[in-house]
């Protein structure tokens, strides 16, 4: 049941945040009992997974959201006297979105996808039969998942793997799915190269990546933290980074520490290549520092520690971006959306 002390605890959580970072959002675990009654069970589950960071990566969150929305659409029945195109978004979809946002601020890919879905629903004629509309919507969502996630991942890994040369040393930071795919793809092509994995001891995905690469037969040098970053980066031939989003001004929104690595690489004259699906591109937002769009790590928001999840890499520290459509300079983003 509901505990009366719950709201007080919530206020305490936010009150621990230092004043200068208090404008930033933070994921929050909401007991399922407190969720709005209109929230679909599938969405409820996704929300919980997001709040606990079981779903962390922007594309993983996007995919889970789209699959949950599929369930919402499948179970939707238009009430009498309404049409799907007028009723579904305000009365059914929006409460789901609100709930997800409350669990954890939406990532930019989710924002893009939701805008696309809403645009698609608005295109339906008011007289469209419910079955037809639902069918169309489900197809559209499948198309999104195939085209912008599955195929995108394949295409990016292919393109990026081709840019790896025999004898290269590829450095990466943390654990990004696209970087992993790319390196495995290049290895599969028979290229011999080394990998350097720089990890974030507070994120700790890099060790998994290092082990995966090692098992695939790639010689891996693993650094548990950013110590000695300059010499390590200077010894690399390319730096591959994954991102959560790219803003309209070309800056990269990525796990905290990415900007430090990119800057060290650029200063050492090493190419910095960002791998990013176009669904992550945000053409409406501009960010010039890391405190405009960011999130506070709820795990480390205590009296003894504070952590931001992301940082902002200026486009001058990015040599190029590889997307599923094309590869371009750091500051030629958004037209693909």
């Amino acid at each position: 049941g509901r505990r009366p002390s719950m709201p007080i605890v919530e206020r305490d959580i936010r009150s621990g945040i230092p004043e200068c970072f208090s404008h930033l959002p933070m994921a929050k675990r909401i007991p399922t009992s407190q969720a709005h009654k209109d929230v679909h069970p599938a969405v409820l589950a996704v929300g919980q997974q997001m709040a606990t960071f079981a779903l962390n990566d922007s594309i993983a969150r996007l995919k889970a959201t789209l699959l949950a929305f599929r369930k919402v659409i499948e179970s939707y029945e238009t009430p009498k006297g309404n049409s799907l195109s007028r009723h579904f978004v305000p009365h059914v979809l929006n409460p789901q979105i609100e709930y997800l946002t409350e669990c954890r601020p939406m990532c930019f890919a989710m924002g893009n996808a939701i805008r696309l879905i809403k645009g698609n629903i608005n295109k339906f004629d008011i007289d469209t039969a419910e079955d037809e509309a639902k069918e169309g919507l489900l197809e559209w969502i499948d198309f999104l998942i195939n085209e912008r996630i599955t195929l995108a991942e394949y295409a990016i890994a292919r393109n990026a793997a081709q840019s790896i040369n025999e004898g290269d040393t590829i450095l990466t930071y943390g654990h990004h799915r696209l970087v992993e795919k790319t390196l495995l793809e290049a290895k599969h092509d028979g290229k011999a190269f080394d990998a350097t994995v720089i990890d974030d001891p507070y994120g700790c995905g890099g060790l998994e990546l290092a082990k995966t690469l090692r098992q695939a037969g790639i010689p891996v040098s693993y650094s548990p933290n950013l110590g000695g970053l300059r010499p390590k980066v200077a010894a690399a031939s390319n730096v591959f980074l994954g991102g959560e989003a790219i803003f309209a001004n070309g800056s990269l929104h990525a796990p905290s520490g990415t900007a430090d690595v990119a800057m060290a690489a650029m200063n050492a004259g090493v190419k910095v290549i960002v791998l990013c699906e176009t669904i992550n591109f945000d053409r409406d937002r501009v960010s010039v520092d890391s405190l405009t769009y960011n999130e506070i790590d709820p795990e480390r928001n205590t009296a003894d520690s504070f952590r931001l999840l992301f940082d902002n890499t200026h486009d001058r520290y990015i040599t190029g971006v590889i997307t599923e459509f094309e590869s371009g300079g750091g500051n030629s983003p958004a037209q693909a959306i």
Binding site: P18, C20, F21, D199, D200, P201, Y202, L207, A210, K211, R214, Q215, P219, V220, S221, Y222, S223, P224, N225, L226, G227, G228, L229, R230, P231, K232, P255, S256, G257, T258, A259, D260, V261, M263, A264, N267, D289, S290, L291, N294, D297, R300, A303, D304, S305, F306, R307, L308, F310, D311, N312, T313, H314
Partner: protein
Amino acid sequence: MAPSTSSHAPSLDNLIKSFNSQSLEASIESLIFLLKRRQVKGDECAKATAHILRQVVAKAKWRDVDELLSRVQSVGSRLVRSAPLEPVIGNVVRRVLGLIRDEANEDRNADDFGSEAASDIQSLTSSTTPHPLRPGPSPIRPSPSALSSGLPVSKSMFNLLSVKAPSASPVTGASTPLSQAQPASVHALRSEVMDGIEEILDEINQADDQIAGFSEIQIHPGDYVLAYQPSRTVERFLVKAASKRRFTVIIASLESPSPGSSESPYAALRKKLNAAGVNTINLASNGLMAYIPRVNKVIFSAKAVYQNGGLLVDSGSCVAAQAAREYLKPVIALCPVYKFCPEDPSDEVSRGELGSPGSYVSYANGPAVDALDIENTVTDYIPPDLVDVYLTNLGPQTRHHLASILADHYKIEDIGLSLQLGEP
């Protein structure tokens, strides 16, 4: 290397106490033992070196200046070799060698020339040059430094050559003392050099407080100060500033707290600062670019400053300095004068020292331990262009004036100390 095994937790204090009861060689051996095991490190190395060299001066057999110099050189290079990544050891050895040369010069000048003026100048410079108790930044540039960097150096080189030429054959051959005045002056020299070493020790001990004295100039009300892995020097600096100013300290560190321990990092420092009304934020983050827009200045302490202005620091400090450079925030390095090395960084230094990866990858994790090259770098080299202020116990400096500090504190003859390491 037996002697220190009597105490289970060998510490510098115990070691120094044990000096009196041990033979000189045993003391040297036990210090080398601690240095090799990295049980004495950082600032402690400087103190330990000064202490042991005092023992050398006091206990070793030497009949003239050259013999004393070579005793100190040989012990010094043994110490330097046992801890190649602690450049302060070499610095202190050089300081002591310079001190001996100065004192010897003074005597020789008095003997050889009998000139009042010459000995006056010499006594003036020799008493001011290694003197640690100078209160502020003022004495760096005025005349004594001009004298010590210019005139006496050339004079001492001249003396070295002119004295060595006749003495070379007797010393190596029959080892007969060449001067009838030696026995008396040996005694005087011994006590003067020991006093000088005492002054160097005072300087080392007081450096942190003197640096802290400049804190209110550097830290302003309302500042957000990023303190990277605050050392004792930085702690003292911040606490002193907190007695005058209201500001916020953002503490960053590379070390992730080990899962078991519940004690928060830098708890004592934070308690002191909070008590003085200064807010602290403990960052649990390696990357610092995210926070730099909010930060006004970055402060950390150096393990060593090289003659090109580059710094040897705790690993990760370089990330802080680099991020600060991106946003044009001042980078202040706290570095007592005894950490200034009259040489360039070695390749080893710029690559960084590797530490144990055990705290990051557990030995239970077989596949990872077997197959991965794990590099846990524990020191960073910061190139000079990332540092704005070198805050020494003599006051703030820029890298353009580091040469004069080095000239004030070291003799040209001793700069190549590290090159002599190959010799037995």
